[in-house]
């Protein structure tokens, strides 16, 4: 098992060393030598997305991203930075919890008997470069969900084969609020290797044995005190740059005390009930299932695929929709994520990544909605 992060102990204290920028390709070479398929950020279709990547030059060198409610635009920075942007629409979630995957096949014989066969769990060592602190927090939540008593075989297999190379978030977007949820922007463990990008290179810290092995394959030198100071100042700046905030880390009681708040109807006027927020959320895990049958009825494949509490099917029960309108669907989403998760997983389901704000086609801001619903009556949203 290459990676113990998330479900193993952190095996060593991280002590940063320095990797010169021009030596970054050595990281890719070490990963290739270790037999890892490498996934990392790159520019595609106007955004920074995660896909197969084997070369440092394919990273989004010199790119930044401006984000606002309902808007995402790439920007040219004019420098050599590879990671000077906040998260794009996705990172880890689709790699571990596939948007659509077969769970089993069924075959029906001529005698009417049915044989069920599980879809094989994939085995492939994968390394993901540039995982941010918010996504590590989301990963810890998904671990709790998918690796509980009955382990999800597919998630578990991919998770066990995953090597994490995190990057401290130096340039949060305007939509980010991980400081208020306590999940970022600095990486503080739960990863195999962590990088801090500075102007001339990278500070490298290893947290696990696998991470240390990888670190030791890189041409590192001791980090200077100036470089350590620069890293510290950069994170402090990243923290201060965040203006959005979640009103509180635990809104459970406030939300459930306000189920009839007029704000739910008001947000439903704007909400498209399109499910984009759920799809980009790194912690949302709802799925639905579909059977794809052969025309002759002898074989079928049972698929699992991402669902959203904004779909009709999500609340379909016994010929009816329990949540027939957007008011009840939006309320379900927010009260579950910010309220119900405390009971289920011991913390809020929001890690402050801000994706749902950026990728909402009409720019609905969950921090604003949560503040409005939870504010004492007569007060507006917390500015």
């Amino acid at each position: 098992m290459p990676s113990a992060a998330g479900h193993g102990a952190i095996v060593m204290k991280a002590r940063p060393r320095f990797l010169p920028r021009e030596a970054l390709q050595s990281l890719f070479e070490a990963l290739a030598a270790g037999g890892y398929r490498c996934v990392g950020p790159q520019v595609r279709d106007g955004a920074i997305v995660y896909a197969d990547l084997s070369d440092a030059s394919a990273l989004p060198v010199g790119f930044g991203a401006r984000q606002a409610p309902g808007e995402y635009r790439l920007e040219e920075r004019g420098d050599q930075r590879c990671f000077a942007w906040a998260n794009g629409p996705q990172a880890l979630k689709p790699l571990l919890f596939r948007p659509q995957e077969p769970l089993w096949q069924a075959r029906r014989g001529a005698d009417g008997r049915i044989q069920f066969e599980s879809a094989a769990a994939p085995r492939e060592r994968r390394a993901v470069i540039s995982v941010r602190a918010c996504d590590l927090a989301a990963l810890a939540l998904h671990d709790k969900h998918f690796l509980h008593k009955e382990r999800d075989p597919w998630y578990a297999a991919r998770r066990a084969d995953l090597l994490l190379i995190a990057v401290d978030c130096s340039h949060p977007a305007d939509t980010c609020f991980c400081v208020s949820t306590g999940d970022g922007p600095a990486v503080e463990g739960e990863t195999d290797l962590a990088l801090t990008e500075l102007d001339r290179g990278f500070l490298v810290r290893a947290y696990t044995a696998e991470g240390a092995a990888l670190r030791d394959a890189l041409p590192l030198r001791e980090a200077t005190p100036e470089e350590l100071d620069e890293a510290e100042a950069q994170i402090a700046q990243a923290r201060q740059s965040q203006t959005r905030r979640m009103p509180d880390r635990n809104l459970r009681d406030a939300l459930f005390a306000n189920l009839d708040h007029p704000r739910w109807a008001e947000v439903a006027e704007r909400c498209l009930s399109c499910g984009n927020c759920v799809a980009v959320c790194p912690t949302c895990f709802c799925h639905t299932e579909r059977d794809l049958g052969a025309l002759d009825g002898t074989a079928s494949t049972h698929l699992r695929r991402w669902d959203s509490c904004f779909s009709a099917e999500h609340s379909y029960l016994h010929g009816r929709l329990l949540r027939p309108d957007t008011r009840t669907r939006y309320r379900q989403w927010l009260t579950h994520k910010l309220g119900g998760w405390h009971d289920q997983y011991g913390r809020s389901g929001c890690v402050g990544c801000g994706r749902c704000i950026t990728w909402c086609p009409v720019g609905i801001d969950l921090t604003e909605e949560a503040a409005a619903v939870c504010a004492p009556s007569g007060e507006g949203p917390v500015p």
Binding site: Y72, S118, R151, G275, A312, H318, G319, T326, P361, V362
Partner: protein
């Protein structure tokens, strides 16, 4: 399967070993796992449920209604209400299906020991708790008073009368049955629920009479064991019953027992529903009273009919390649002009109908097709919403005909082009311009297994995000209609970097006002917004309304 553990998602094969019809649409399937080892290992707690899987159709969660002490036989009482349960209703002893479970927490009966046990259920909600009641009855000394309340909408839904009867006769046990509203008229074949009394226990003090307006009835338990007596409309008909009105059993106290779902108690769960419940079936489609074709003696017959259309949807089937050959093995294609098979008069089990109704002759013809088809399924934008030719509905069609043709009297056209469902009842609809092969084959495969096609009603965004495509609206500012358009195309256009133009028509619960307001606030021209809704789906009411609204705002003549 790699690794030692069996996937928790993998069903076991189960065999139907018994089936009973409880009411018109309620039935019980008695199931037995075919794997002996698993059958012996299987245990469940009262209140738990199983997932029942019909391969190729789907799965449903169904409570286990039988005794946990006999876990090798699992009873599932089911109402035939959706596309999966309707097929389950067709199963007979000997049939196989998939079963996995048990799931759910079960009722906290251990915690209730030494205390009163109150069981309140409504309708088929009694199914998951009969196992709990059986559990308590077998361990009667561990509980104090046992109160069983069951309410139904109609007396026809009052199943398991003999069980309630038997429970009512137990010591220190109270059974109350109630139904809401009036029963179906006499002659409907359903027995009225009479106010049968509880058999008074020896030494029991006779109490008040049943009041006509409390909607509360007593379990029928006359000596013959049959239901009897008049309906509640006749006050005072009840015999002496226990003095224990419903009121002291407050909702809060009662919910504490079964309400262990891990969710906080919500006020709106107790309050009457303020808003109507939306059925998944769209209003234009028939609520599927008839069963899908189930033909044992011959091959199912398939017809493909064409009305006012471009034939593009028929190509979805014609271009199915090997699947078309496979289909031809399984069904008799009795009429499919595009494929060279012509017999428009042929009777068919499944009729796919392309095109809109735009001439008087087509009205008569579609009625004839309806009469000859067991399942009639319009396909494509024309068949489901009128298609591009429905643009004439926004204009003065006769005036245009008069302006264009030298002899308009030779043109026989209706002033509108409308969806098939406007003229005859339909059994399902496949939208799209055109529909695609995957969509049509999935519908046919479902029908051939005896199930209605899955009604896809998600927005395009959901499919787009599953494919990992970057949102063209957010990242490029394109006026994408994905958030209000129904899926089915696989988010084709955004995958090619362009905006969705809504060719599959409006999705369920679309918020066109919000999306168009957003586009307008970001500088999109009102006329351009109106035009977004003027393509293939202008006949769909939601898009037509958006077109009319934005045309007005732009001072645009909706008749242009």
């Amino acid at each position: 399967m790699t690794g030692p553990a069996r996937s928790p998602y993998l069903p076991w094969e189960a065999e139907v070993v018994g089936r009973s019809q409880e009411t018109r649409d309620l039935f019980t399937l008695r199931l037995r796992l075919t794997n002996r080892g698993e059958r012996e290992r299987y245990t469940f707690a009262p209140g738990q449920f199983n997932m029942l899987h019909l391969p190729g159709v789907g799965g449903v969660p169904i409570s286990i209604a039988s005794d946990p002490a006999q876990s090798e036989i699992l009873d599932h009482t089911i109402r035939a209400v959706g596309r999966v349960t309707r097929v389950l209703a067709e199963l007979a002893p000997g049939n196989r299906l998939g079963l996995r479970g048990p799931y759910g927490r079960g009722w906290p009966l251990r915690e209730a020991q030494g205390r009163d046990l109150v069981v309140i259920t409504g309708g088929l909600g009694c199914a998951p708790v009969v196992a709990a009641i059986a559990y308590a009855v077998q361990r009667r000394d561990r509980f104090r008073r046992l109160v069983i309340l069951q309410g139904v909408k109609h007396s026809a839904d009052m199943i398991w009368r003999s069980r309630y009867d038997a429970w009512a006769r137990l010591p220190d046990t109270e059974v109350r049955l109630a139904r809401q509203g009036l029963d179906r008229p006499q002659g409907s074949g359903h027995r009225a629920l009479g106010p049968g009394p509880l058999r008074p226990r020896p030494g029991h003090r006779p109490g008040v009479r049943a009041r006509a307006d409390d909607g509360c009835q007593r379990a029928p338990s006359d000596r013959a064991g049959r239901s009897r007596g008049p309906n509640l409309a006749q006050p005072g008909a009840g015999l002496p019953v226990r003095r224990r009105p419903l009121r002291p059993l407050s909702a809060r106290a009662l919910l504490r027992l079964p309400g262990r779902t891990g969710l906080p108690l919500r006020r709106d769960r107790l309050a009457p529903r303020r808003q109507g419940v939306l059925a998944l079936t769209s209003p234009v489609t028939r609520p599927m009273p008839m069963r899908p074709p189930k033909i044992a003696s011959r091959k199912p017959r398939l017809a493909v009919h064409k009305f006012s259309s471009c034939d593009g949807c028929q190509l979805a089937l014609l271009n199915a390649g090997e699947n078309l050959l496979a289909l031809a093995e399984i069904v008799d294609i009795v009429h499919f002009a595009e494929a060279g098979v012509v017999d428009e008069e042929a009777e068919a089990d499944i009729s796919l109908v392309e095109g809109s109704i735009s001439t008087p002759q087509e009205i008569e013809r579609v009625k004839a097709v309806r009469a000859r088809s067991r399942w009639l399924i319009p396909i494509g934008a024309c068949g489901t919403a009128g298609g591009p030719q429905a643009l004439r509905n926004l204009a003065d069609a006769p005036a245009w005909i008069a302006a264009v043709y030298p002899h308009p009297e030779h043109i026989s056209a209706l002033p509108t082009a409308t969806a098939i469902a406007r003229h005859v009842p339909v059994d399902a609809e496949l939208p799209g311009c055109p529909v695609n092969t995957r969509q049509v084959l999935a519908a046919l495969s479902s029908l051939l297994l005896g199930a209605s096609p899955v009604e896809e009603n998600e927005k395009v965004c959901v499919a787009c995000k599953r494919k990992g495509q970057v949102c063209v609206l957010v990242a490029k500012g394109e006026p994408c209609l994905g958030p209000v358009t129904v899926t089915g195309c696989g988010a084709l256009c955004p995958g090619l970097g362009r905006d969705c133009y809504g060719c599959y028509g409006p999705a369920e619960n679309p918020n066109v006002d919000s999306l168009t307001g957003w586009l307008s606030a970001r500088g999109m021209d009102t006329e351009a917004i109106a035009r977004r809704f003027q393509y293939q789906q202008s006949g769909a009411p939601v898009f037509r309304e958006a077109f009319v609204q934005w045309s007005k705002r732009g001072g645009h003549d909706s008749g242009d």
